[in-house]
């Protein structure tokens, strides 16, 4: 992608309420999220001619949603996927525009991930017939995301001495950030003892090591830097993007090792290479926190600390607001609500604008107190470069670097 750096940007973001009972369809939620993102960008119906979405048989396709808003599309595509799709689709949207297929693309994810199609794998998902490659794991009671990832986490603890207490610090940091986020489902700050005394889900995962299943829709709008010039918001420019990068043997990644290695090992050179920066240049990270462990594994694999030192890194205070490089300043999947990754990109766009929607009275005008006590500010001062680390599973991930 050499040559596309700074030529595309995110110009609009929007989302619906994070809840456990939306009482409406994924179509209705998608329409609201897209409309909000268009209003945020200052785009009219005639200005958006591309649409993309991702889902796992639990959402509404783009060509149902577009008509609700009076959009006539020149390009749309719905892909099969969950986590790590956001960053990948941003790259694909850039490609579609670069190819002349369309000019401006709205990407959305809409899911009743708690009230309808439980993302944790219970209900309808648990009852699905087991066939094909699923026969290698599901018959053994290994169906949910947590069950699929846990041996990776356990092996990391074995190899590097990572402790439950260290990893719990991710939840502590993200709960701190959520206490400054009016949208967050779980705003209460928690401690390390709170996390490790919560009930076991699937060892080594406690309840509070896991994210919160949510009903929600999210949208980001991608267009060219040229098109962005006369829009409402300060653009968030894409410096580099890597999409759905894999380890070998993604069919059964246990066959290759080390199994404590995740896809960022391969993605980092692509994304940092495009951006022409190093981890030290990044002001804010947005790491996929389906679980506390996924954040830790990604931060170390992308080089924010040495491999194996992720436990020490996440428990050092660096990833908290006020620390050197805050991670997931919205509280994200663990506390704000689970959205399959889109919300962490939205948060970083708002950070780069200097306009996160915290409790500061002048937040919408970019007036922030930088007081990180509960119920106050979550804006990072002078944030210039953000990075998103998208996770599908240990062997598959995406990444996105943006600047303002």
């Amino acid at each position: 992608m050499a040559g596309l750096k700074d030529r595309y940007c995110i110009v609009g973001v929007g989302e619906t309420e994070y809840s456990k009972r939306s009482n409406r369809s994924t179509r209705a939620m998608a329409v609201e999220a897209i409309k909000k993102a268009m209003a945020d960008a200052g785009l009219k119906a005639a200005d958006v001619d591309g649409m993309m979405s991702y889902q796992g048989g639990d959402s509404t396709p783009a060509n149902w949603v577009s008509g609700d808003l009076g959009l006539r599309l020149n390009f749309y595509m719905d892909v099969f996927g969950g986590g790590s799709s956001t960053e990948a689709l941003i790259g694909l949207a850039m490609g579609a525009i670069e190819a002349g297929m369309c000019k401006t693309v709205a990407l959305f994810r809409s899911m009743n991930g708690y009230s309808d199609f439980r993302i944790g794998g219970t209900g309808a998902r648990a009852a699905q017939p087991v066939r094909g490659l699923d026969l290698a794991q599901v018959p053994f009671g290994m169906r949910s995301a947590g069950q699929n990832f846990a041996p990776t986490f356990m092996r990391h603890m074995y190899e590097y001495g990572t402790t439950s207490e260290q990893v719990a610090a991710v939840r502590v940091a993200h709960s701190k950030h959520a206490s400054q986020n009016p949208k967050a489902l779980l705003k209460e700050r928690v401690s390390v003892p709170d996390v490790i005394s919560s009930r076991w889900i699937c060892k080594p995962l406690h309840l509070l090591d896991c994210c919160v299943e949510t009903d929600n829709a999210t949208c980001v709008i991608v267009t060219s830097a040229e098109r962005a010039r006369d829009l409402r918001q300060k653009p968030a420019y894409v410096m580099g993007v890597a999409g759905r990068v894999n380890k070998p043997r993604t069919d059964f990644h246990w066959a290759t090792g080390p199994i404590s290695r995740v896809a960022g090992y391969y993605a980092k050179d692509i994304v940092f290479g495009q951006a022409g920066i190093t981890p030290e240049d990044v002001d804010i990270t947005g790491s996929y926190d389906a679980f506390t462990f996924t954040t830790m594994l990604q931060l170390e694999e992308y080089g924010f600390c040495k491999k194996g030192e992720g436990g020490a890194y996440v428990s050092s205070g660096i990833i908290e607001l006020g620390g050197k490089r805050p991670n997931n300043t919205s509280g994200s999947h663990l506390c704000e609500g689970y959205t399959h990754g889109m919300s962490m990109v939205i948060e970083n766009v708002r950070q780069l604008r200097g306009r996160v929607d915290d409790y500061c009275p002048g937040a919408a005008e970019g007036k922030h107190s930088y007081d990180y006590s509960p119920g106050k500010c979550r804006q990072v001062k002078d944030a210039k470069i953000t990075m998103n680390l998208g996770w599908a599973m240990p062997p598959t991930g995406s990444a996105l670097i943006m600047h303002n």
């Binding site: 017939p129 026969l135 018959p139 053994f140 009671g141 889900i201």
Partner: protein, 168 residues
């Protein structure tokens, strides 16, 4: 045998499932763990697949392995997702590294397979007995006339490397 009922799950193995059908059938008929071996580069692989991950050959044959190995990693499920597993909690899911082909063709590669750690009569093994490094052997749980599920049980042999389990 298009499908097998097990713990409330419908395991579907249609006639045209060219990966799994024979795998589970051989497990049932012979009570042996049979893996696919490339007839070109001779390397074995799991799960059963049509192409060789190392040399792309589409020619393969079944090859018997001992079914012995050690626990490479594990998890213990306390909150079951599938209704049929609730009565089994807490149960261990183990990632077994088989004895054959360890560190081949590159140091971090091995034949690894997922199963449950069970007693020889297919009850969930006690959580306190699960640990990385412990030795196991395969046992076959017959579920249908041409379907057996390979599982693993502890054996009294010296461990491989350090024995480790999650601190209580």
């Amino acid at each position: 045998m298009p499908s097998v009922e097990y713990r409330g799950m419908n395991l579907v193995i249609p006639e045209n499932d060219s990966e799994w059908r024979e795998h589970f059938k051989l497990a049932r008929e012979q009570h042996k763990l049979m893996l696919r071996a490339c007839t070109s580069c001779r390397l074995m692989r799991y799960p059963p697949s049509h192409g060789c991950p190392w040399c792309m050959s589409l020619e393969w044959e079944w090859k018997e392995v001992s079914g012995k190995g050690h626990i490479y990693s594990y998890e213990v499920v306390h909150h079951a997702i599938q209704p049929g597993f609730k009565e089994w909690t807490p149960y261990a899911v183990v990632l077994i590294e088989l004895d054959e082909q360890r560190g081949t063709p590159t140091p971090d590669e091995a034949l690894r397979i997922i199963g449950n750690l069970v007693t020889p009569d297919f009850k969930a093994e006690a959580e306190s007995k699960v640990a990385i490094g412990k030795r196991v052997r395969v046992v076959f749980h017959d579920l249908a006339p041409d379907f057996a599920l390979p599982q693993f049980t502890l054996i009294d042999e010296p461990p491989v490397g350090r024995v480790w389990s999650l601190p209580a």
